[in-house]
């Protein structure tokens, strides 16, 4: 693979778009280079479930013709992307990463609204990306292959939008669309060294997704820069009559609000998350360095206490998981139990036994935890934490051990405390690369703001990226995957 091809694939989507617009490169060049990287590396990485190279190349040639004729559609025109295989896209089966479904049940009935909007903006769908079964996390055996971290294939690429984190990190596409119920965009963004956004609930239509946790499900982008994320959000945001929970609110020109510094901005470190017992020392050090960078850019940084944040973890499991289980119990779990991965079916079965009275009490508690988070948002422009408490671990070490009753609640909380307080609160939250562990694995900074505060977290993330170069470092896949050149 030529150096120029590698360099092209590792540019940010925004940089690729400028080169396409100026006709320095053609969408055909970019598509060929992206498909070549899928062909070369995905035998190991397993980021993709279904790819349609012929259709992608045909669309790239059409985009080239349109742009040459002066009909440039905007900054996503001609860019290759993939989507988590949890949303429908005509022409591709919706496998949901499972063996539970029969082949005819994977036929997509229509395009998800995000897929439709991206196509209208000229972006080109390459294919569907690997995920934990039904997007639930905890999968032990992946029917479409074990996804692997491009920085070190022995290490975890996180859950559950796993392929959607790997693919942009490996330069196989310009960006991806994932789904985040508890932390399924931020986890893969963090572990693979890309940017990932969980938008405000209702900001992006969920129509065409197969999720079933209606109080928490969100679609959001993963890409190599915050600027890319802002450009994608301008396209995919907005009310959709097909999603009754989408919000009728104007969509800002996010890309016009990125520049500047952080002077006058008040940020707060969430004490109970950032300094939780058990956080890895390298994560703590990376986070402290990130705080200094933000301070140098003009931000005032204080600490805030959210003593109920830890309860977000069991509360999300007792409510959102129960919602999911109520759907699966009627659909497949009773009559196809054996076809589920053991990690998924035991979690769903346990969730299906949560009493309605407990669910009701947990929903009340969710309101209180959310109110505590929002109260902090009233005092601060954004809250900051590390995205994960550990650097990416060995794959075998990430499998959830359900084996005893000692310290189970603290262990349950530690695994998910960085993610769940913000998903339970349904606020926008972004993960941005903030360095590497001693083993060369990505670490990440998480920035959350008030509902519909995407512009604020984009500003913080963008300014941080202007002051650092973590996001411009990419895995040398021939080396990390030990592929002969």
């Amino acid at each position: 693979m030529s150096n120029s091809s590698v360099n092209l694939c590792y540019l940010s989507a925004s940089e690729q778009a400028l080169m396409i617009k100026s006709r320095e490169i053609s969408p055909v060049d970019l598509m060929e280079a992206s498909l070549e990287r899928i062909e070369r590396y995905d035998q190991t990485l397993k980021a993709w479930i279904t790819v349609n190279p012929e259709s992608a190349m045909e669309q790239a040639r059409n985009a080239e013709a349109e742009i040459t004729a002066g009909r440039y559609l905007g900054p996503l025109h001609g860019l290759p992307f993939g989507v988590k295989d949890q949303m429908h896209a005509l022409g591709f089966p919706t496998t949901l990463g499972t063996q539970v479904l029969d082949e005819q049940e994977t036929r997509p009935p229509y395009d998800a609204t995000v897929v439709k909007k991206l196509a209208e903006a000229g972006a080109i769908l390459i294919g569907k990306q690997n995920l934990h079964e039904f997007g639930k996390g905890g999968t032990i055996k992946f029917p479409y292959g074990q996804p692997r971290n491009p920085w070190n294939p022995a290490h975890d690429a996180s859950s559950s939008s796993t392929g959607s984190g790997i693919a942009p990190a490996a330069g196989q596409c310009s960006f991806a669309i994932g789904e985040d119920t508890g932390g399924s965009i931020r986890g893969p963004a963090s572990c693979n060294g890309v940017v990932g956004l969980r938008p405000t609930h209702g900001r992006v239509s969920r129509h065409g997704g197969v999720m079933e946790a209606y109080t928490s499900d969100t679609f959001g982008p993963l890409a190599r820069s915050v600027q890319d994320i802002a450009a994608i959000m301008e396209v995919i945001s907005g009310q959709d009559p097909n999603d009754p929970l989408s919000i009728p609110r104007p969509v800002p020109r996010y890309t016009k609000l990125l520049d500047g510094d952080l002077k006058g901005m008040k940020l707060a470190v969430v004490r109970e998350i950032a300094y939780v017992d058990g956080i890895h020392d390298e994560v703590r050090k990376g986070f402290e360095a990130a705080i200094e960078v933000l301070r140098e850019q003009g931000a005032v940084i204080e600490e805030v206490s959210l003593p109920w944040a830890k309860w977000a973890v069991p509360l999300q499991l007792l409510t959102a998981d129960a919602d999911v289980a109520s759907w699966f119990l009627v659909n497949y779990l009773r009559d196809r139990y054996d076809r589920f991965d053991v990690g998924t079916r035991t979690r769903l079965s346990a969730s299906s036994l949560i009493p309605a009275t407990v669910y009701n009490r947990a929903m009340r508690a969710r309101r209180l935890v959310r109110e505590q988070v929002l109260e902090a948002m009233r005092r601060y422009d954004a809250l900051i934490t590390p995205t994960n408490v550990f650097p990416p671990r060995l794959i075998e070490d990430t499998r959830e051990k359900v084996d005893g009753t000692t310290d189970v609640v603290p262990r349950l909380i530690l695994r998910r405390i960085t993610h769940y307080p913000f998903s339970l609160s349904n606020v926008p939250v972004i993960s941005v690369p903030m360095g590497f562990s001693e083993k060369g694995l990505p670490l990440a900074l998480q920035v959350a703001s008030r509902p519909f505060g995407e512009s604020t977290i984009f500003r913080v993330g963008h300014v941080y990226q202007q002051a650092t170069d973590w996001h411009t470092q990419h895995p040398d896949l021939d080396k990390t995957l030990n592929i002969a050149t």
Binding site: H201, T215, P314, T346, R347, S352, L353, I354, L368, F452
Partner: protein, 64 residues
């Protein structure tokens, strides 16, 4: 709250689920963990929980 395998077997049957014997303990531990956490939440927040409705946070109506 610690549930045993027999209790999980009965509850699963009530839901129409036939769980293999070897997986009942896994499910018992998961559910016991969550319910134990809920007991701790009730201790810490229960009085306040009585004062609010369990409204899903899907239509943000805050000032933001």
């Amino acid at each position: 709250m610690e549930l045993n395998v027999e209790q999980i077997r009965v509850l699963s049957e009530m839901q129409g689920l036939k769980i293999p014997e070897k997986e009942l303990n896994n499910i018992a531990i998961r559910l016991s963990t969550w319910l134990t956490a809920m007991e701790q939440i009730e201790t810490e927040m229960g009085a306040r929980m009585n004062e609010v409705d369990p409204i899903p946070p899907v239509f943000p109506r805050e000032e933001f």
